[in-house]
Structures are given as structure tokens and as C-alpha cells.
Symmetry: C2
Subunit: 416 residues, 2 copies
């Protein structure tokens, strides 16, 4: 696979991911009867489908329906109205910043999103109102060829696991992929630039009207007070930059369509399965998962466990947190450093502790007994997920494929 030229590679990727005329026609055939029911309303198709940058297999179509500003407080009512118009379809009311209606028909999912009409992207009421401005900006700044480059870039991001602004990924949104191609002209040039990125990257397509200290700052051209790349974590930034660097040295399809890998437990690996018993949006759930992962790491360290890595992933309806430790069994006692001999706290430190001594540097130490000697006890207390759930834990004994295997292997398949 590594003998492809970069241009051959792009062709091969596009052959696999670019929707055909038939794909497009099929989506439209499902979409038309739905749009027919709102033809008296002011609506627009938005999102990657409207921008011509969607990938084959993605089946989400965003349809924005516009209302005057004075309807701002009546969104729920509007969505209920839409629901009754869609009678006969499989529908579901959902919430982002405000409510919208999901309409399912066969393989496609149409989001009917009420939005407020505004003059400029910078005077929006809620985040969704910005979308039409994004669509317009992208469509007027990308050629058809560049739209293909956006598709290739999106698939690259997907393959290395950094595609998506949602909390679960904390990576690059489709819009960021589009802005990067607008800024740098082509897929190759985006990668070339990204391969040179350092820890703080600032890209100004338009002049920013505010300072940001996110790892990646890309000023939103339709709203210069906003960092369109605020979701990108340092880990995603680093992953994309490093992958760009190694890909340009030795291009390979592996980046776009990684093989499944196998990994064996090194150290002691605890699989913490969180069975979520409540319907909840991905961002709400993963906000809580992400906080729990941070707390698990911190609390394990505080309690003397030596953490190699903690990561979370989805397996069907479950969230799995992989906790990799140097060792699951640790000693009951440790040395706690106290004040130096000349400090005020010395008397209290002596009073409060048994087994106190003066170390070589003139500092007092005491032997303390650990509160926890079982990592499971610490982890159980560190999971701060509020949605209804059940937790079960087991120590991994053998090699695995899939996401658990990837966690244990560590090295991403494209890296080595």
C-alpha cells in the first residue's frame, strides 16, 4: 500500500468515499417528500450536503427553517408544529442549544432545525443560526476540485481518529476541514502546513477580534469573535500534525482506512464498563465521561497508583474506560514529606503523625497508611457520571482486537 503516489492515493480514497450521482439521487428521493411538507416555509438545505463535501455513507441532511426574531421564545411550539406535519414518519424531538426535529426515512436522517433570520454571522442568536453563513462562505470559496480535497482531508482525519468537534473526539469539525482547504488550497498543502505546527497554532483567514488560548485557533470568517477550532484538543492537534508529517514521508491508505489491530495487556489493565441506562445526547454523556477519565487519572495518582494511560471509548451502548496501571497491587505505606525543620508547621506535623523523621535535606517526613489499596475502590469513587448507569470492572487477561485492542497496543496503526 505504501507504493502509491500521493495523487494515486487521493484518487483511490475518492473512489471509495465520494458519493456518486446515484448516491446523491437516492438521498434526494428520500428528502423530496419531506421538503414537500414544508414547502410553504422558508427553508434551506445546510451542512456538508449543501456544501458538496459530504462523504459516502453519511446520511445526515440538515434542513434549516427560518423564522423572524420575535419567534425566538417559541421554538418548542414550532418543533411541535413540524412534528405534526411529519405525521407518518419516524420522528424524534432532540435538543442542541434549542429544540429540533429528527425525521428518519430508510437510511437517511433529516434534521429539521428552526433558526432565526439574522443579517450577519456575528449577530446570531444561537450557534445554529451561524450555519447558513458557514454554508455560504464555503460554497463561495471552494472549487469543485477543492471540495474533493475536503473529502480526502475529512477521511484522513477520520482514519487517524480526530474527525469531529464533539466532546467524544475533541477533534476537527467538517467546517474546520473546509476552512483549512480554503486557507491552504489543497489537501497536500494542508498536511504540509500541519506537519510544521507547534503547540499553539493560529490561523487567520480573517483578522481575529479576540484573543484565544486554545491549542488551535482558526478565526471564523463569518464571526471574527469566534474560534472555530475551539474544540480541538492538544492531543488531536498533535495527532494530526504528526500523522501529516509521517504521511508526507510515506503516503499510505492506512491513514484513511486503518486496519484493525490487536493489543495485549502490558502492565495491569482494568476494563471499566459503563452501561448507560438513560437516553442522553452524546455531548452530555461524553462531557461526563471525559471529566470522569480526568478524575480517575488524578485520583489514582493521588492514591499512589502509577497510571500508564486511561482512555474511554464506545462499544455499542456501553462506554468502556480502559485503565492501564504499572501494578494493581501497591504497598500500604508511603513517605509523606512535611515541613522543613525550621518551619512553623513542625510541631503539628509531629503531633499528627506517627513514624516521623528528619531527612537528609532537613525536611521532616512521616510514614502514612494509604486510604485505598484497591484501584477499583478509587475508580468507583472517581466516576462522576450523572446519567443513570451501571458499572462493572474486570482485569484484562488476554489480547484483544477492536477498540480495546487499539487501547492496549497504543501505537496507532498508521504510525507503525
Amino acid at each position: 500500500m505504501s507504493n502509491y503516489t500521493l495523487s494515486d492515493l487521493k484518487d483511490e480514497v475518492l473512489r471509495r468515499i465520494k458519493p456518486s450521482k446515484e448516491d446523491e439521487a437516492k438521498i434526494k428521493s428520500h428528502l423530496s417528500p419531506i421538503l414537500e411538507r414544508i414547502k410553504d416555509m422558508e427553508f434551506q438545505i445546510q451542512g456538508s450536503f449543501a456544501k458538496g463535501t459530504w462523504l459516502r455513507g453519511s446520511s445526515d441532511v440538515d434542513v434549516f427553517i427560518f423564522f423572524d426574531k420575535d419567534m425566538k421564545g417559541r421554538m418548542e411550539e414550532i418543533v411541535k408544529g413540524l412534528e405534526s406535519r411529519m405525521r407518518g414518519y419516524d420522528t424524534e424531538m432532540a435538543y442542541a442549544e434549542h429544540p429540533y426535529l429528527i425525521v428518519r426515512d430508510g437510511f437517511i436522517e433529516v434534521d429539521l432545525v428552526p433558526a432565526i433570520k439574522v443579517e450577519k454571522g456575528s449577530s446570531i442568536v444561537t450557534a445554529v443560526d451561524r450555519t447558513p453563513f458557514h454554508t455560504r462562505f464555503v460554497n463561495s470559496n471552494l472549487t469543485e476540485e477543492q471540495k474533493d480535497d475536503v473529502r480526502v482531508l475529512k477521511q484522513f482525519m477520520k482514519g487517524i481518529g480526530v474527525y469531529g468537534a464533539e466532546i467524544k473526539v475533541m477533534g476537527f469539525s467538517g467546517y474546520i476541514c473546509e476552512l483549512l482547504v480554503i486557507k491552504y488550497g489543497s489537501f497536500e498543502e494542508v498536511l504540509r502546513q500541519a506537519s510544521l505546527w507547534k503547540s499553539q497554532v493560529k490561523i487567520e483567514i480573517v483578522k481575529g477580534e479576540k484573543g484565544f488560548d486554545d491549542p488551535l485557533v482558526i478565526i471564523d470568517p463569518v464571526d471574527p469573535k469566534r474560534n472555530a477550532a475551539a474544540a480541538v484538543s492538544m492531543k488531536s492537534l498533535g495527532t494530526f500534525s504528526l500523522a501529516s508529517r509521517t504521511f508526507l514521508k510515506k503516503p499510505s491508505l492506512e491513514y484513511f482506512f486503518p486496519d484493525e489491530v490487536e493489543g495485549k495487556p502490558l502492565g495491569d489493565v482494568l476494563m471499566v464498563e459503563i452501561d448507560v441506562k438513560e437516553k442522553v445526547s452524546s455531548d452530555i454523556l461524553w462531557g461526563q465521561v471525559s471529566k470522569s477519565v480526568d478524575r480517575i487519572k488524578k485520583d489514582l495518582s493521588t492514591n499512589g497508583f502509577r497510571v500508564i494511560d486511561v482512555q474511554a471509548w464506545e462499544e455499542g451502548q456501553k462506554v468502556v474506560v480502559g485503565v492501564q496501571l504499572q501494578e494493581r497491587i501497591i504497598g500500604e505505606f508511603y513517605a509523606q514529606p512535611g515541613p522543613f525543620f525550621y518551619m512553623n508547621g513542625v510541631e503539628d506535623f509531629v503531633k499528627e503523625n506517627e513514624n516521623v523523621w528528619i531527612g537528609e535535606e532537613g525536611r521532616l517526613y512521616a510514614i502514612k497508611r494509604r486510604k485505598f489499596t484497591s484501584p477499583e475502590d478509587v475508580i468507583a469513587r472517581s466516576i462522576t457520571i450523572k446519567v443513570k448507569h451501571e458499572v462493572s470492572m474486570r482485569w484484562e487477561k488476554e489480547g484483544k482486537r477492536g477498540k480495546a485492542g487499539a487501547f492496549m497496543r497504543k501505537t496507532p496503526p498508521w504510525l507503525k
Copy 2:
């Protein structure tokens, strides 16, 4: 014991440690026949016996024999001459900076030390030549009552384990005790001052002619280019300062004559017994022991063992190194931090390691296998003692009294 007044306490301590007229007469009766054999030479009694600050039970008498500067290169020859004068006595040639002769008679040990006549303490040839100046300075600056205070101070230092400038102790010499009483006037005032010490203490009885960065600096009045307290470690300084503070709050005989304590192993305690198979001076042996203790600590940490404390002590002819760990069994794998994603070393790090990943902060990590998983293997390699010796190790299973007990208890008996 804690109901003594400070003055009662001093009386009780002196009652136990101040040599009686009979003690002095007994020493002199052993000393006279030895001095008789060198009566044609220019000699002087030196050391604490000459200064009237020695403790009952100490049986060392230093006798300095003076030679002109041109004899400097012929010290060995001189000592051999002394040896033949002492025929019939139990003698032994020993070496400090230059050779001297130990003469044993019953309970006393007389050191016959050849020295070079010099005008001032600052123009000495070797360290021993300074001693007569110390003796003169102390005798002309201490009253009889203050000499008793020196004795009390020495016993205090002994009791808390910081008496002696030798490497084994790295504490306060007799001369430093004398200088402290000269400077501050009394035992009580020395403790009051010491209780206020911070991490760097500088005491100028005369103006220093050089800067020092030792924890304790006491300019030698007979040689202002010298720090007379250079041997005092931060640990000894802190121990004396803290003991002074707690003693003044609640005086007790425990400081002077500590009870033997018992200690149990907390964590995993390895007793490393070093059986020294060669006759060697204490400072040479303990210089090597002290370096080994430092290396054991450092190497154990480097290899992933969590050290609570490492200390060495003497038990008969053996040196014992107590190694206290949080746990003796540790995992085989650990996470090694590597370069950040944008650094030059990234490619090499990826090439050289298996199981590489990008952490949350954009830094690369790799899982490494430990070189050692047995602390005994690490310790065996960290002992850098050059004198002939044999090492044996055993994990301590039970409580102990004596020095091993004190090591495991940690808290000094005077502190709690």
C-alpha cells in the same frame, strides 16, 4: 522524667558524665609511664582531656609531639621511632593525614601524634598541627562552669545522634561544642539560639576570610579561612535545631540518655548486611558506605522502586543498610515520556519504541519494560564499597530493638 527543671537536669547529666577526681587520677596513672618514655621530646597533651571538656568513659588521650618543619617528610620514620620507645605496650600505627601511633594500656588509648611546630593556626602544614591552637583558644576562653556546659552539650548531641564530625555521623565535633558555648555563653543559650536556626547558619566568632556554603558555617577563630563546622550535614543541623526547640519546651533526660526503642517493618524493609573483611579507617569505610547509600536511593528510584528511606548503621563489625520500600514487587512495564509532537526527536522515539502514543498534552509516550524488577539486583549493583566485604540481604519480617528498631520506628525517642 519531664518534671526536671533545666538546672536540675544539667546537674543530673553532669552527675552521670563528668569525670571525677578519681577518674582523672586513674587516667593519669596510666598516662604517666607512657609520657616518661618521651620526656626528652617536646610534647603536649591535647584534645578534650587537655581542655577539661572530656566525658566520663571516654578514654582517648591525644599527645602531640612537636618537630621542626624540616622533619615534615620523615613522619613515618618518627612514628617507627616512637613504636620502639613503646616496646612492651600494645601499639598500632594508624593514619589520618599523616601517621601516628596508638598506644593501648588497660582501658585507655593514647594517640602519639607527631606535629610540626608553627607560629599561627593559619600557617599549619596538616590538619593535626591546628590542634594545639584549638586547645589554647578553648582554654583561654572557657570558665570551669562553661566547660561543664560543654560537657552537657556534648552529651545532648550524643543522645540525639549528632555528636562527631566523622563521616559516619556528619555531626558536631567536640571543638564545635566548645565554640558554641564560647559564642553563646551557656548550654541553655546555645540551645535557644539553635532552636531559631534556619537552613543556612553562619556564626562568626572572628571575621571569616572566605565564603562557605555548608549548612553550618562557624569560622575557626584560629584559622579564619576555615569553616570549623564543615562536617555538619543538613540532617544533623536540623536534628539539633529541632531537638533544641522541643527540649526547651519540655526538658527531659531522654535527650541525653535515650531509651532503646522498638520498631516494626512498615512497607517492605530489606536489611542489607555488609560484612567488612578488611581493617580500614572509619572515615574511609563510611565514605564508601555513604556513597553507596546515596546510590542505592538514586538507583532504586531510577528503576521504579518507591523508596521510603535508606539509612546505614554499624552493628559490631558489620555495616547494615536498611532499605525501606513502599513495595518490593513492582510492575514490569511503565510509561516513558518522550518528545512533544513537534520536536525533532519524534521520529527516533517512534523508531526506538514499541507501544507509542500521543498523550493529552501532545507529548509522546512509550511503554517500556523495566530492566530490573527485583530490588536486590539493583542494590547489589549500587554498593560501591571498595574494601573487601561480603553482602547478605534479608527481608525483615518482625519488630526489632536496637539500631534496626530505631530505623524502623523512625521517630527518635526524644521527639515522641
